[in-house]
Symmetry: C2
Subunit: 330 residues, 2 copies
């Protein structure tokens, strides 16, 4: 009980004022809290001129790549390779292009064997087409694509190095398999590898293509690929081949330079023989190489000219695997 | 004799007119001829933003390079090397920096043994300085410089290839001898080659310098070198060493990228042992490598930071000398 103190009118008003201000303060705090919760989250927008790429995982869009692997009738190889590739540093996500029409993907089994280092997305296709892997997948969040055939194993060391090279040559196809075209006196082009005659620009050989079945390239080229003449798609569908030659034409036209940069692989393996499916790749077909020469000439017609350019630059990793792999007699 | 014809006054005037007009025509022709001779010759000005580079020889300024070779006390090696280098395709001119103070150049003998494929200019020096070779020689007409030590033989094949690589990387030092610096826990830098620990960026080794004693670089860097802090010249003069380290600092600062691009030589030889002079290069001095570590730290002070960047790109020539030098088990 308060006597002399409580009876003063000022103090009574003081307590009422205190209550009032307390209520006001509490209401203000609640309002502030509500406003803070409603503020938009600040997104890490590194590339303002391109598609928004939210940093959904620990690696940003510039420092990582997306593996796109198309598969047909070799699920055992696919799963073996996924176990390897899923652990590559700087891998952001895997997109499996499922060309086994009507067959269930191994997604359930995949999930039951989790957790996995990165997300793997199975893109079910409706038609078994070679060019299915060249769609502009909305799942793509990175600037870089690593495209691999479903029977090719490239070591993590090679991939890490080639990715670093791609980052220095982002407008090129940076990969492990070089090929060339040559011109013949008749004006008809022929396609081949190093066993074919050199194009004759100085000594040594030249390459004018880097195959996309084991290569890094800019995801923007998948967008560009959707804008090509219909005849290109018809050619790829007719041959079920040559999508990689078409990509090299596209890139060469775009840059005005050699389309590819060849990185010499230390450890690259073809696992074809290891499959239980009995299925061997398209390149075993009798007409495979003839088709590719045919495609070169068709594409020259379609694009009204030969855009491919030669390069003789071969890139290796300094001091790896042998720390003195550059030593000389000096 | 003309009778009725000649007597006509009109005809007399006609002949006078004819003579007059003939004289006028002849005078006009002479004047025209004189004017034509006085017209300025049209110069092939390919690079309007740079120094005028008249096409004095069969190779233009962009497709050829100037060899700059400094020499001291090894004239027998110099002449042996000149016989080799003078025949390199795309060589425009040789500049010999004559550090044999007070000694006659072999110019007379050189001329008596002509003709030679390209001009060779002997630049007589007044003081024997390591950095004499880094002057901005007015004799330089090409964009590219090939700088070679006077005891180093590099094959024509290697040079042709490295020059083509330089043309694709004109802002870098493109050469055959990579070196690196490393950082130590104390913050003091050390200089070395592959026997030194790796800088620790991923696997394999890295290099952060390409020595200019066997390399191509842009002639503009000789201009830039004249604009460096006095302390840089003092350092090079004090050590009679490190001009190449200084150049790498300069280029790295200028580009913000690794200063050099390493091209793995197929055939590079040190001819030191072949000299009759009994003189061996500076690098045999006991303190040589210690000096170079010293220089790295001094230059970091002078430039207030470490501009050198690492690279692990090693470039070789595709299909040369072995046409299948890129073959793999696939």
């Amino acid at each position: 009980r308060c006597f002399h103190f409580c009876k003063l009118p000022g103090r009574v008003m003081g307590i009422r004022l205190l209550r009032f201000t307390s209520v006001v303060i509490i209401v203000l705090l609640l309002v502030a809290g509500a406003l803070t919760a409603l503020l938009p989250t600040i997104k890490d927008d590194k590339l303002p001129n391109s598609r928004r790429e939210p940093k959904t995982q620990s690696q940003s869009a510039l420092d990582s790549f997306t593996l796109i692997m198309q598969t047909y009738n070799r699920t055992d190889l696919l799963l073996k390779l996924l176990n390897h590739y899923q652990a590559i540093p700087q891998l952001h996500k895997v997109i499996v292009v499922w060309n086994n029409i009507g067959e269930k993907t191994p997604e359930e089994m995949w999930n039951s064997l989790g957790p996995h280092p990165v997300p793997v997305v199975f893109k079910v296709q409706t038609v078994n087409r070679m060019r299915n892997r060249l769609q502009n997948f909305p799942d793509l969040e990175t600037k870089a694509v690593l495209m691999m055939d479903d029977d090719t194993l490239v070591s993590a060391h090679d991939l890490a190095f080639a990715f670093s090279v791609w980052q220095q040559f982002p407008e090129h196809i940076v990969g492990f398999v070089p090929r060339k075209h040559i011109s013949t006196p008749s004006g008809v082009y022929s396609y081949g590898s190093f066993e074919l005659q050199n194009p004759g620009f100085g000594n040594g050989d030249q390459y004018s293509m880097v195959l996309i079945g084991a290569a890094f390239f800019h995801s923007g080229y998948l967008e560009d690929f959707q804008q090509q003449p219909e005849a290109v798609y018809a050619l790829i569908d007719e041959t079920q081949n040559c999508d990689d030659i078409a990509m090299n034409f596209l890139v060469a036209k775009h840059t005005g330079k050699p389309s590819g940069v060849f990185v010499k692989p230390v450890d690259i393996r073809n696992l074809e023989k290891d499959t239980n499916s009995g299925y061997s790749g398209m390149w075993h077909r009798a007409e495979h190489l003839l088709q590719r020469s045919y495609c070169v000439n068709k594409l020259v017609n379609i694009y009204d000219g030969m855009p491919l350019k030669y390069s003789n630059i071969m890139i290796s990793q300094f001091g790896f695997p042998n720390y003195a792999n550059h030593k000389n007699k000096m």
